[in-house]
């Protein structure tokens, strides 16, 4: 290979696909198991998942080298079901996009609790499949042994869950500040600091274990896959890898621990600022993970 076939735009798509699947799973599972106690977080997660899967699809389609010449050629991607894993993925993502749109609509038409929950069960399965597919896609590429790992899809799923959780927490103040009329419930949660802090506490309870498991899966991926030494050996890509470790895993852990101390001390404003910072770090770190894996693999082979 003379140049990168899959570049940063595709890393963006892999990131958004994982994030969309993860945000949906966080939102829907919270709705299914927590009985609307954290309804605002559920709604935020599902809304974020729909927006990001659509953005991801836009990136994906424009990255297809033939799209600009023959836009309808994209329909060919549906042809080889189930012969090609990419076709399977195309169908999964199409289904997931539709289901997440339906869920967003159902959240706005309140009073469809049962229907919404049935749709959410389907959506969770499709969301998991979407997030895992972004990794399976790479693991099937026989020409790049760096990606041929059963751990990689799970690494992307875990990162998807974490980034999904982060965007769900971050979207509440963003929507409350910029679109207060459309998101009245987001605004009231954000204005009543204690309510928002309760959501933050709940997301910490999910996020901290996820970070530990993601770290474990990352280590297992590194140990079991050939040539992963490129990530820490001081090559050009190592910098991005260390940035990922710092931004996606270490700093969020440290900040959350510090936040718990601040909460006990009653410094709520500071807790909120640091929480928002943490969510941004997790999101940047999530993108770096895709970038490092995607580009690193192509640099070696």
């Amino acid at each position: 290979m003379s140049e990168l076939t899959w570049g940063p735009i595709l890393a963006g798509y892999l990131f958004l696909g994982g994030l969309a699947g993860g945000a949906y799973m966080v939102g829907a599972l919270t709705d299914l198991f927590k009985k609307e106690k954290y309804a605002v977080l559920s709604k935020s997660g599902i809304l974020a998942s729909f927006v990001s899967i659509v953005l991801g699809l836009v990136l994906l389609v424009f990255d297809l080298k033939r799209f600009k010449e023959v836009p309808l050629v994209i329909l060919n991607a549906y042809r080889r079901f189930p012969g090609s894993i990419m076709t399977v993925g195309t169908w999964i993502i199409t289904g997931f996009t539709l289901v997440s749109l339906v869920t967003v609509v159902l959240w706005y038409l309140d009073g469809h609790g049962l229907v919404r929950k049935i749709v959410e069960v389907i959506g969770v399965i499709l969301g998991l499949a979407t997030a895992a597919y972004t990794g399976i896609l790479l693991s099937f590429a026989r020409g790049v042994p760096f990606w041929n790992s059963g751990f990689l899809p799970w690494l992307f799923v875990l990162s998807g869950l974490l980034t999904g959780l982060a965007i769900s927490v971050l979207l509440i103040p963003i929507a409350a500040v910029f679109m207060p009329k459309a998101f009245g419930d987001f605004k009231s949660t954000w204005n009543a600091t204690s309510e928002y802090l309760e959501l933050v506490g709940y997301s910490d309870d999910l996020g901290i274990p996820m970070i530990f498991i993601e770290t474990a899966v990352m280590l297992l991926y590194l140990v079991t896959t050939p040539s992963t030494g490129i990530l820490w050996s001081g090559s050009g890509i190592s910098l991005y890898f260390y940035a990922y470790l710092l931004l996606a895993l270490l700093m969020p852990l440290a900040l959350t621990y510090y936040n718990q101390k601040l909460t006990t001390a009653g410094r709520h404003k500071m807790v909120i600022y640091l929480t928002l910072l943490t969510t941004v770090l997790v999101l940047v770190g999530g993108f770096l993970l895709r970038y490092v894996v995607l580009i690193g693999g192509q640099l070696i082979y």
Binding site: K65, M86, F140
Partner: protein
């Protein structure tokens, strides 16, 4: 009345043909993919590195037959291989390698062996590129060549990632991937591929797959190295050499077929998923319980 009926019939026929048209077209493309004439036994090519003199005639013949423009070449640094990589317009390269034998025990040529190897798409028996192609552009013809349909390619680049040797490459000008076609158009006329026909030393030999595999197995019994008998589940172009293929930069790929590779990957993914899923659920539960206990203790301590 009759006129009315015939109009109705006409509409019926027209709508039916509209429905059937896509199917008919699909049938047509399928028809093109399996021509009427018998394709016969699987074809193969033996590439014997020991016979190669590095004349690059095969490279030129490939360019000439397939009307491929010249490559803007660069000094490749330390070797005579040029160009050093495959591209949409370079389907064949000839590796030139100086192989050190410094104790001078084997070659008796001053501690150095000169070896050349003509290399191109190996037309795998179960091609990874075909397996991942979402649009059905890539396909394997029953007599051996791995071919592609220019109109179906969507430019996703997955075949480029799935080929262990970086063979398919997207051509920005014709908007499709391109690679060696094993000169299927010559094979259909009863001719050998252009590179084989040009080779002056018979380093390239065209035969049936069975014959080629037999030749390669015999070479193995003579202590020679082969590439393509078992690699990635077998290929239609089989290489023979007296030096290991790692010298030419050809990796030692697993003998699993593409289907076996994909099934193995999914099995690993599912097995690992059981552990990851279990660990995540347990960790979330344990962490929440621990936080509750701590909160209770705090509350009790505070009151």
């Amino acid at each position: 009345m009759t006129e009315k009926m015939s109009r109705k019939d006409f509409l019926k026929a027209a709508s039916a043909s509209l429905l059937v048209a896509p199917l008919a077209m699909e049938g047509l493309t399928k028809g093109q993919r399996s021509p009427v004439q018998q394709l016969g036994k699987q074809k193969a090519v033996i590439v014997d590195s020991r016979r190669c003199i590095g004349c690059k005639g095969c490279q030129v013949a490939c360019k000439a037959w397939n009307k491929l423009p010249a490559e803007q070449t660069k000094v490749s640094g330390g070797e005579y291989t040029n160009p050093t990589y495959f591209s949409p317009i370079t389907w064949k390269i000839v590796h030139f390698k100086e192989i050190g034998d410094y104790d001078n025990t084997q070659s008796g040529t001053g501690g150095l062996k000169w070896r050349m190897l003509a290399d191109n798409c190996k037309h795998c028996l179960e091609p990874g590129c075909v397996s991942v192609c979402p649009s059905g552009s890539l396909w394997k013809r029953s007599d051996g060549p791995v071919l592609y349909d220019l109109d179906r390619c969507i430019g996703c680049g997955y075949c480029e990632m799935a080929c262990p040797w970086g063979i398919p490459n997207f051509d920005e000008e014709i908007h499709s991937i391109r690679k060696c076609t094993m000169c299927f158009d010559r094979i259909d006329q009863g001719l050998e591929p252009a590179c084989v026909a040009t080779c002056p030393t018979d380093a390239l030999q065209f035969m049936t797959l069975e014959e080629a595999q037999k030749v390669a197995r015999e070479a193995e019994t003579e202590g020679l190295h082969t590439y393509g008998l078992s690699e990635v589940g077998g290929t239609s172009w089989i290489y023979i050499s007296d030096v290991p293929f790692s010298e030419f930069g050809l990796e030692d790929y697993e003998a699993t077929t593409q289907k076996g590779f994909e099934t193995g990957m999914l099995t690993r993914f599912a097995g690992i998923g059981l552990f990851v899923g279990g660990a995540l659920i347990a960790a979330v539960k344990l962490y929440a319980e621990r936080r509750e206990t701590l909160a209770k203790e705090d509350a009790e301590g505070g009151s």
